[in-house]
Symmetry: D2
Subunit: 265 residues, 4 copies
C-alpha cells in the first residue's frame, strides 16, 4: 500500500489497483481449519542435514521426519471467502524434518505441495516452498461404508501426484487414541523466505523466519500403524529424504491462525 | 461379459479386455457415504410438469423441488477404490422435482452435475442425467474458524459452475435439529434410462426405472433458513425450474448402496 | 425424442427437457479437426488376439499396433460450440490394433482416454472405450524455440497420465515427408457398442459397429524415428499390449465428420 | 544460491535442496512461443490513470488498452521442459494499458491470468500480476471445419473464467493482413515488482521494472473486426477498465526470450 500521501494503485499483493480490491492475496491474519493424516518416519540424518540451512542443526533426534496430508479450509479475518466454498478449500502435502535453532526444537518444511493457487503463493510469502500437485486423502464418514470411521480399524489413505506422476502414498490404520499430538506438528516451522532474483546485480535477501501462530486447536488424536512410499518422480533431490523406517500414523483435526513472520536473528 | 462358452474380451463396461480388468466401471453394488447440503424450494408447477415423462404426474405437492449439494465417497463391494482417495471422492449437484407414479410419491432428477468421470458415466447407466461441472460446498469443522460447525448458526454454502459460468449458489444457516430427513430425499428417484441413438433406423429404447437401494442411513438432520440462486447459464430450459420461493435448508450425512435398476411397468 | 404425438421431455441425450435444449450431447454429425502425433509399434499378436471380439481376426499383419495422441477441436453441424473455445477442444490418446472383419482390414481401438466429458460420453455412444485422463502433446511452432517445427529434426512429445500416474509417453523426431498416411489411421475403426447392464435379467445387447465417416482430410504427413513407453499403471490387462518393437512416428493434421454407426452383420 | 563458501541447500527458487534440483523455477532465460488473439480497445482514461503508478503517465494515447489471449509453450535454456508437454504449455489472458515512462511509450499489465502454477509464480518474479484462471482460445486449423483458418473470415474466440465465473470473452473475425504488429504488443511492459510483506515492521520494497527481452519474432499479423466483453466477476476494481469502444482484433504468432529485469530509475 502506498505510504500516506502517496498516490497510485495499491494492494497487499499484486495485482495493484485503485482501491486494492484486485489483490490476489488478502493480508494476514489467515485462519485455517484442517483434517490431518500424518505419518512419522525416519530419514537419513545426513540427507536431512543437507536440507537444513547452516543456522539450523539436526537437534535432539536427527532423522526424525514426517509426511503430512491436510484437507484445509481457510479464510481471512472477515471470513468472506467462506461464501465461495471453491475458493476456501485446498489440499496440502508436506515433508517435515526435525531440527533445532539455538537449542529450540523446530521443524523444517523441505517440500510442500498444494492444489490451489492462492495458498501456493501465500506459502511463498512465508518462505514455505509450496508447489502445485494433486492431493487426495480419505474423508472420515459417520454413516455408510464408503470411507473410514475415526475409530479403531479406520484406515485412512493419502496420495500426492505431481505433473501426472505419483510422488507419495500413505496409509494409517487407527489403533487407538494417542496421548497427544505428534511431535513434529507441535514445534514451530522455520522457513527460508526466498524470492527469486530477477534484476541483474540485485541479489535477493534470504531470511530465516518463523511464523507467529495463534489460536492453535487440536481435536483428539488417533494413532496407529502406517505405511509411506515416496517415489523418485518429484525431482533429483527428493529421494534423498525417502523413509528408512516408517513410524506411527496420526489422524486429527487442527486449526491455527497465521499472523506474521518473525526473523530469526 | 461373454456368455458361458463365448470367447473374446469382456467386462462390465468398456473398455473390454481379456480378463475384464480394464472396465472403467465396476459392477454394482456401489456404496456411497455423503455430506449433504440441501435446499427445498418451489418451482413453477407447469414447468415441472413439462420435465416429467407422461407416465409420471406432479403428485400431491405440485412444484415441490430441491437443490442438493453432496460431497461423496464411493466404493465397490471390494472397497478397493478407497485405497486411491482421489478416485473415490466426488462432488454432485442435483435438481429434484416432486412427482408420483401411480400414486406413489417419487422424485425426478431433472438435472445432475458431478466432477468425476466414473460417477458421471455410472449415472447414465442408471438413467441419471449427470453432466460435468465444478462443485464445491462447505466442509463442517470441529476446530478453528475456517468453516461452519454443525450447530446453531453454522452457515453452509454450495456452488456449481458449468463451463466456466456460475449456475447455482445456495446457503443454509442452521437453526436446529429437524424431526427427520427432508421429504424429497426419502422418496425413490425415478429415471428415464436413455442411451443416445447412433445406428441408423435403430432407435434406442427408453426405460422408466427406479433404483434398488439398500443400507440407507441418515445422520441427525440440521435445518434452517436457506437461500438459492439458479442462473440461466446452464441451458435454455434450465431457467424454467428457477425458484419461485425458497424453503428450508438441511445439512446431514447420508449413506446408501445402489444395487440394480427396476423397470416401472 | 418422443415419437410424433408423444408428450414429455425430449432430447438426443440426457438430460431430457421440454425443448431438448438441455441434452448434454448434440446429435451427429460431429466435425473434428485434429493435430496428430502417432507411433506405430508391434504388440504381441497373441495378446492382440485376446483383445479382439470373436467376429474379428488379426488380419494380414498380426501384432500391428499404434499409439495416437490427438489435439482435437470439434463442433456440431451448427458450429455453435466454436464460440466457447473451452468446450470444443479436447485431447485424446488411443491404442489401435490392426485386425480384419471378413477380409476387410480395420483397426480396433483397445483403449482410449480423453480429457473432456462430452467427447468421453460421445465415445461410448459409438462403442469407443473412452476413459478420462490427462493428455498433453507438443504444439508445433512457427516462431521461437519453445516447441518443435514441422520440419526435419522437429521433435514431438506426447504424454498420458491416468489417476495421477504416467501411463504412456511417446516421442517422434521428424526426418522427412511420408508418402502417405500411416496404415492404421486409414482403415475403419470397429467398435463393440456396449452399455453396462443395470436392470436385473435385462442383459444389454452388444453391437459390432463401424462409423460412417465423411470429409476425411489429411495434411502432409511427416515421419521419423519414434519412442514409446507404456507403463503398467492403467489396469492389469493394459501391459499385455506393451510394445515389443517400436516403428516410425508420424505427425500430421487430420479432419473427419462422424455421421452415424453401421452394424456389422 | 549460497555465496561461494556458503553451505546449505540452494536453488534459484524454493524449494531449496542440496543440489538445487528441487527448485520450482529454473533461472532465466526463458523462451516463449505463443499463438496470440488480441483485441484493441479504449478504456476510460481516468480509470487507466488510477491503475498507473505515479512514475508513469498516460502517454500520447490516453485510454488505449488491449485484451490479449495467448496459447504459450515455454522452455528453459536447456529445452528440457519440452520433453514433458504438459509442463511447458499454458494459457494466458492480459489486460494491457498504454502509458509512458519519461516520454517512452510502454504498456502496463493491469491484470493477468494463467492456468499453470510455474508461469504464475514466474510472473510474480517479474512483477507481473498473474492470477489463476481458466483460459481457452480457438486453435487455427489447416484441415476440416472444426476451427478457424488463418484466412479471410476466420473467426477466433477467447474466453476467461475465474473461480467459476466468466470474466472475459473476445472474438476476432479476420479481414486481411495487417501492416505490422499491434502497437501495445510492441512496446516494453513496465511492472511494479512487489512481494507481499510478512515480517512485522519490514515493509517490502516495490521496484518499477522493465524486462530485458531478446529474440522477438512475429509471424504475419492478421486483423479484423472484434468484440470484447469484460464482466464484473473478477474484483470490484476490474470493471473500471471495461471497454468504452472496441477496436480491431489481431491474430498472430509471437516469440520472445525473457532474460532479466531492469530497474527504472
Amino acid at each position: 500500500m502506498p505510504a500516506p500521501g502517496e498516490t497510485g494503485p495499491r494492494g497487499y499483493s499484486l495485482p495493484l489497483s485503485p482501491t486494492g480490491a484486485a489483490a490476489m492475496l488478502t493480508p494476514p491474519p489467515w485462519h485455517f481449519s484442517g483434517e490431518i493424516v500424518m505419518v512419522d518416519y525416519r530419514a537419513d540424518p545426513r540427507a536431512v542435514r543437507r536440507f537444513l540451512p547452516s543456522e539450523l542443526d539436526p537437534g535432539p533426534d536427527p532423522g526424525a521426519a514426517a509426511a503430512v496430508f491436510a484437507d484445509w479450509q481457510w479464510c481471512s479475518d472477515s471470513g468472506a471467502e467462506q461464501a465461495d466454498p471453491g475458493s476456501c478449500r485446498f489440499g496440502e502435502f508436506l515433508i517435515l524434518l526435525g531440527c533445532a535453532y539455538r537449542g529450540r526444537p523446530m521443524a523444517r518444511c523441505a517440500y510442500a505441495w498444494v492444489d490451489s493457487a492462492v495458498p501456493m503463493l501465500r506459502g511463498w510469502v512465508q518462505g514455505m516452498p509450496k508447489q502445485f500437485g494433486e492431493i487426495a486423502q480419505s474423508r472420515p464418514v459417520a454413516v455408510g461404508r464408503a470411507g473410514p470411521r475415526v475409530a479403531e480399524r479406520g484406515r485412512f489413505h493419502g496420495a500426492l501426484s505431481v505433473r501426472g506422476r505419483r510422488v507419495a502414498e500413505a496409509t494409517v490404520t487407527l489403533a487407538g487414541r494417542a496421548a497427544g499430538p505428534p511431535a513434529l506438528h507441535t514445534v514451530p516451522l522455520v522457513h527460508t523466505r526466498t524470492f527469486p532474483g530477477w534484476i541483474r546485480d540485485h541479489p535477493e535477501p534470504r531470511q530465516l523466519v518463523c511464523s507467529e501462530v495463534t489460536d492453535v486447536e487440536f481435536s483428539e488424536v488417533w494413532t496407529g500403524a502406517a505405511t509411506l512410499r515416496l517415489s523418485d518422480a518429484a525431482d533429483a533431490d527428493f529421494p534423498l529424504l525417502a523413509p528408512l523406517e516408517v513410524g506411527d500414523g496420526h489422524v486429527f483435526s487442527y486449526a491455527e491462525t497465521l499472523c506474521a513472520g518473525r526473523l530469526l536473528r
